[in-house]
């Protein structure tokens, strides 16, 4: 029963995002600020993690493909499919939830316990819309871009490690990347990234926004925001795969 109550409250929260909004100009600047904060703040981590994931995927795929009957370019093909379909959108989403989601939940939770949200509300401003909507819009804009960068870095990481260790030559790697390429994979990854961005930003913000108590509760809300986001990502990942690929 409590579960359904919480889900219902989450949907009420989502409805508040779009009721009694402020002017477009207000959101424009807030969204830009959030985009810069989220995008630039996450860029280094995304590049670092995705490059290493690509490199490790290449090494591990090569390690498993021991048959002389399988051409070496298949390594690049496998890395490409893993990266575009799962590693870039989904693994990055888990990292994004840990970094950006926790920051959103913690920030809003702190604003709640220090009465900053009350200060917004007392001015007659819809605090949910003013504080949360820009975060969600910015996430939906920025996260797909981060996924594209992550995919590129991951494939580049595989290329570098393949060339450096001699596992696969650069021409073989490039050939493998292009071999039987279905461009719907990119569309699918971008659809997933938009869905994940929405889930992470809205769930984390929801948890932070309704924090009650003190510093301890902010910590709990932050943890719950990340945990619930991760669960939602995994469920959404399965549902989208079933819906769009099956």
């Amino acid at each position: 029963m409590i579960f359904f109550e919480k889900v219902g409250r989450y949907f009420v929260f989502l409805r508040l995002l779009v009721t009694n909004r402020e002017s477009f100009k207000t959101y424009y600047y807030l969204v830009l600020e959030e985009c810069v904060s989220i995008g630039l703040g996450s860029l280094f981590l995304v590049i670092l993690v995705s490059t290493f994931i690509g490199a490790v995927s290449t090494v591990q795929t090569a390690y498993n493909l021991v048959s002389p009957l399988i051409p070496r370019y298949v390594i690049a093909q496998v890395v490409r499919e893993m990266t575009v379909l799962e590693l870039a959108p989904t693994i990055m989403a888990l990292i994004y939830a840990g970094k950006v989601g926790s920051s959103m939940a913690g920030g809003l939770g702190t604003m709640r316990i220090t009465e900053q949200i009350d200060a917004v509300e007392v001015m007659g401003i819809n605090s949910v819309s003013y504080l949360v909507l820009p975060k969600i819009i910015a996430s939906i804009i920025v996260y797909p871009l981060l996924v594209i960068i992550a995919a590129f870095c991951s494939l580049f990481g595989g290329y570098l490690i393949g060339a450096a260790t001699g596992i696969i030559t650069p021409p073989e790697y490039i050939y493998g990347l292009r071999f039987i390429f279905n461009d719907f994979s990119i569309t699918f990854a971008l659809i997933k990234s938009v869905a994940f961005a929405f889930l992470i930003s809205s769930i984390s913000s929801y948890k932070g926004f309704y924090t009650k108590g003190g510093a301890l509760e902010v910590g709990i809300a932050t943890t719950q925001g990340v945990t619930n986001s991760v669960i939602a990502i995994l469920i959404a990942d399965y549902l989208l795969a079933q819906l769009l690929l099956a």
Binding site: M111, T114, V122, M123, G124
Partner: protein
């Protein structure tokens, strides 16, 4: 002026306020006093005007300036941006006009040189003063203050009280102050409402509070040692 009639509030079936009626006069400091847990802040937080429809609520709220217990300044904004916030959201003033208004309000609270500082770089008393500047920047008709001098030293508390009092008279606002500090009561209490266990027990001015004849109020007023000595004399 604010008139309230038969205000009641309960949490989880437990009544915390019952049958509160009264008038808070314009251009005066109206104090709501009482021990901790008597419902003072709950009464102040009923500023949300839950009976009004949403648009009406928004209109009323835009007439209110609120000073919060902890200042409630936005951590990510400078002092200047904090004070400018209501103008950015609620008005269509030009940037130059906004800057002038913010400079005026900061000067009024004695913080003309602190505009570029972040909230984390200023003291508790300064945060309260910035809170006051933010509350009055939009020329509100009503100024609500929730324990304005909690956590401050006695000298700074007096300064904050005097500032609230001066602003009330200068801008002719209807000011409501929730406090349990007897220094504030005796310093700025034009109209005082005493709450006890969710009920209004007494109402009057600071001149009458020491001889109200209400036992609970006497216990509250003379709990302070200085006041207790005064009573002895």
């Amino acid at each position: 002026m604010i008139k309230i009639k038969d205000i009641a509030k309960s949490f989880d079936g437990k009544m915390v306020l019952e049958g509160i009626s009264g008038e808070f006069e314009k251009g005066k400091c109206n104090l709501i006093i009482g021990s901790s847990g008597t419902g003072k802040s709950v009464l102040l937080n009923m500023r949300n005007f839950t009976d009004a429809d949403h648009d009406m609520k928004a209109e009323i709220r835009r007439e209110i300036g609120m000073l919060f217990q902890g200042g409630a300044l936005f951590d990510s904004k400078t002092v200047e941006k904090n004070v400018m916030f209501p103008l950015d959201i609620l008005t269509k003033m030009k940037p130059e006009e906004k800057r002038e208004r913010v400079a005026f309000c900061l000067k009024r609270v004695g913080l003309e040189n602190a505009g570029k500082k972040m909230p984390s770089e200023i003291s508790g008393g300064m945060k309260k003063r910035v809170g006051i500047a933010r509350a009055i920047v939009n020329n509100p008709a009503y100024l609500f203050c929730d324990e304005p001098n909690s956590g401050l030293d006695p000298q700074t508390s007096i300064l904050i009280d005097e500032l609230i009092q001066d602003i009330t008279y200068e801008f002719n606002t209807t000011t409501l102050v929730v406090t349990h500090d007897m220094n504030s009561v005796m310093g700025m209490g034009d109209n005082i409402m005493y709450l006890y266990k969710g009920h209004k027990l007494w109402e009057g001015g600071k001149e009458e509070i020491t001889h109200s004849g209400v036992k609970e109020l006497d216990d509250f007023v003379f709990a302070n040692k200085v006041m207790s000595k005064m009573r002895g004399k």
